[in-house]
Symmetry: C2
């Protein structure tokens, strides 16, 4: 674990990351000492920092620290947090604040492999996401809605929960982005009012463009989700999981999801 480039696992109680959730983060898969799609993650980190007016650490600095981390532990889940740093008391961000950046690494999760081959059970969450266009899409540290939603999933056999916003649009999973296959097209929810636009979502969008598959980013109602030909969720750690069961609805075949999953995994190094 590294805090501002030094070995350590502690930060100041005056860091605005703790006080206000004033920061952003990334979660990366690392295999055989290689962080998967690190340039995409850095790009997104940089964009999210800019959205909040936080100065993102330099890519060369971060890449060098990541290499140090992976020499010690070549496989795992890497978390990178950038906060606005310490400041004087009060919500207003100070222009002089020096951002804090933090690396942590955890063991690879042991998800049942049949989630990738057979799909998962999912559930609609009771919690509805709030709409905040100023924060939408950003992977920031204000994640209490995800905590409340994840707390609803107390059945170990339910691998993910899907979330609607206050207007009844289906937005995402508690820790994943959602795609629908509808009549040979891909559809993924518009994230301009809430939700987190993940790196893996971006990779699916690029895949669609490369394979000439039409993709729509728009509002999606629950009824359309329940009647989609296929459904799948993605994130950088799970890769792609098709959904075989969502509340009372069931699916038994996922040819498009399976092809995208294979292609995306094939690009992992």
């Amino acid at each position: 674990m590294l805090v501002n480039g030094k070995q350590g696992n502690l930060i100041s109680i005056r860091d605005r990351g703790l006080l206000y959730g004033d920061g952003v983060f990334r979660t990366l898969l690392t295999l055989n000492g290689r962080a998967q799609h690190w340039p995409l993650h850095f790009q997104k980190l940089h964009k999210d920092c800019s959205s909040l007016g936080i100065v993102c650490p330099d890519i060369d600095l971060l890449s060098a620290e990541l290499d140090r981390l992976l020499m010690q532990q070549p496989d795992g889940v890497v978390k990178l947090i950038v906060t606005r740093g310490q400041g004087i008391r009060g919500y207003a961000p100070s222009a002089e604040a020096i951002p804090t950046h933090i690396w942590d690494i955890s063991p690879l999760p042991d998800y049942p492999p049949d989630r990738t081959t057979l799909g998962i059970r999912a559930r609609m969450c009771q919690l509805h996401l709030s709409q905040q266009p100023r924060l939408a899409g950003i992977k920031h540290l204000n994640r209490l809605e995800n905590v409340l939603a994840a707390a609803e999933l107390n059945d170990a056999d339910v691998a993910e929960g899907l979330l609607m916003d206050a207007d009844g649009n289906v937005i995402e999973g508690t820790r994943s982005n959602l795609f629908l296959v509808v009549q040979g097209k891909l559809v993924t929810p518009d994230l301009s009012r809430c939700g987190v636009a993940g790196v893996q979502r971006g990779r699916v969008m690029v895949w669609a463009a490369q394979h000439g598959m039409q993709l729509q980013v728009r509002d999606v109602r629950l009824d359309e989700v329940l009647h989609a030909d296929e459904l799948f969720v993605v994130n950088s750690i799970i890769g792609l999981w098709a959904i075989r069961e969502l509340d009372q609805q069931k699916w038994s075949s996922f040819p498009v999801s399976a092809k995208i999953s294979r292609d995306l995994n094939g690009q992992d190094a």
Copy 2:
């Protein structure tokens, strides 16, 4: 500064307070070694912890730690944070997590005293608060909206910004609660969809009941705010500030605000 009862100013980078803003806090004024209205703050802390399913530390434990803190620094602004503590990776809160509690103390702010006597200049913020009934009223650690709103107030002569929600209801200040005096009645915004219900707001409500002044908690539109007989904002540190200027609108007399301010301050020890 105390972390879990021990002298220190560091917490783990795996604390869910940092990772997700999964915690709550209080800000108290302390004068001559006495924390003002500590029982009310504890009551609110306990309620907020319960709302998130966090086990609140015992009042006797917290009171003893507060006494230790105030022996070292009798005057200042005390901050108390309770987080859900460390957990395994992932949003879902673990039932085994042991909450972290943190005390910090800062010097008293040097607000110009004429803010209390002459009122303040305020401004409507551009940012609109999102609506999340599951988190409304709670003083939790997801405070990016307050950060963005406070960042708008770059004029040192503007002492507070007021916030509307996405539907155009006026909700609160960036760090205070709002009251209107309208035809001899008090009105304060309903906080069931967003906003933080502060201890000082509760004290004004009790004052109204004790003084037979009618008080309404309900939705408030901007037009009503701009045409109120008096406006004031409250929090535990500033006490009560009347508003003498809000964007283009001006007020020059605040008899009700002044009386409430005197009475509330008179109860400070």
